[in-house]
Amino acid sequence: MIDLGIVALCLGVALVASESALGGRKLQTGLSRVLVLWGAIGAALVLHFAFARGAGMLVFGVFWSGAFLTWFGVRSHVESSILLRLVFLLRGGGQQPEALLARYEALYGPEQRLEELLRSGLAEREGEGLRVTPKGRRILAAVDWLR
């Protein structure tokens, strides 16, 4: 049970450290530094299992990967979800659909999403317009293949 306590503690540290590293930014902008954090904490725990227990490294490795995937999925989904933003904006009371959409677009609409794509290096400015960067093209190719 001590092992479970250690894992839970490290999970808590990873979550707090990730939020601290992101500092309010979206995941697509700060993913690499978060990956380094989770990798470093996970590697330390794998070494613990290897040397202190002699087994369980792969069990822990799969657990850690699963915990990261779940955190990544939930955070990324909630921070970007239009549906949840609309629900959040409705907290103040009932709104006409057009007013709700206008409020959403003013705060988190296409312009803000384009800015986020630029900040994360997936798109870049080209004269008056925008174009997809090589990094963006790789991601789109992977997404197309997986769909």
């Binding site: 049970m1 479970l4 894992v7 939020e19 500092g23 309010g24 979206k26 697509q28 087994a55 369980g56 490294m57 069990v59 822990f60 490795g61 799969v62 657990f63 850690w64 990967s65 699963g66 915990a67 990261f68 995937l69 779940t70 990544f72 999925g73 939930v74 990324s76 989904h77 909630v78 921070e79 970007s80 239009i82 549906l83 949840l84 609309l86 629900v87 959040f88 409705l90 907290r91 709104q95 006409q96 659909p97 959409l101 959403y104 677009e105 988190y108 609409g109 296409p110 999403r113 384009l114 794509l117 798109a123 317009g129 925008l130 174009r131 963006g136 789109l140 293949w145 997986l146 769909r147």
Partner: protein, 144 residues
């Protein structure tokens, strides 16, 4: 390395394969995940290995499957990915606006809000979700 280590890596490999194979049909991923997670739980219950490892195996495979499932949803629904794919097209922003408009229908479909007198109002479920989301935005500081 013990039998649970081997089961863990085999389970993760199967889940990853099912995730990639889901492009031929989502059912492959759903069925594959159910089999692997059930197998992990069953193994955790009968194994003579230390209980901590058994718990980590069962929970780990379940988290791995759940995380991949969310990523699959994002692949299909992400407005930012669709916007990136349409970048440079004249109607890119208009397409995004249509995506956003489509989410209004989802609010009613998932019973988060109901339309009353042409105005959207949160249901009890919607208010609960809104409270959780507000807490999440506050903790992560992602522009609440």
């Amino acid at each position: 390395m013990n039998a649970l280590d081997l089961a863990a890596i085999a389970g993760a490999a199967l889940l990853t394969t099912a995730f990639a194979a889901a492009r031929f049909g989502e059912l492959i991923f759903v069925a594959g995940s159910a089999v692997v997670v059930a197998g992990g739980v069953l193994l955790a219950l009968v194994t003579p290995a230390p209980p901590a490892q058994a718990v980590l195996l069962a929970v780990g495979l379940a988290l791995y499957a759940f995380g991949l499932a969310i990523v699959r949803v994002m692949l299909h629904r992400s407005v930012s990915l669709r916007m990136l794919a349409r970048l440079g097209e004249p109607a890119a922003e208009e397409g995004s606006r249509l995506d956003i408009r489509g989410r209004l229908d989802d609010i009613a479909r998932y019973r988060l809000a109901r339309s009353r007198g042409g105005s959207f109002e949160l249901t009890a479920f919607g208010r609960l979700v809104a409270r959780i989301v507000a807490w999440f935005y506050q903790v992560t500081q992602v522009g609440a």
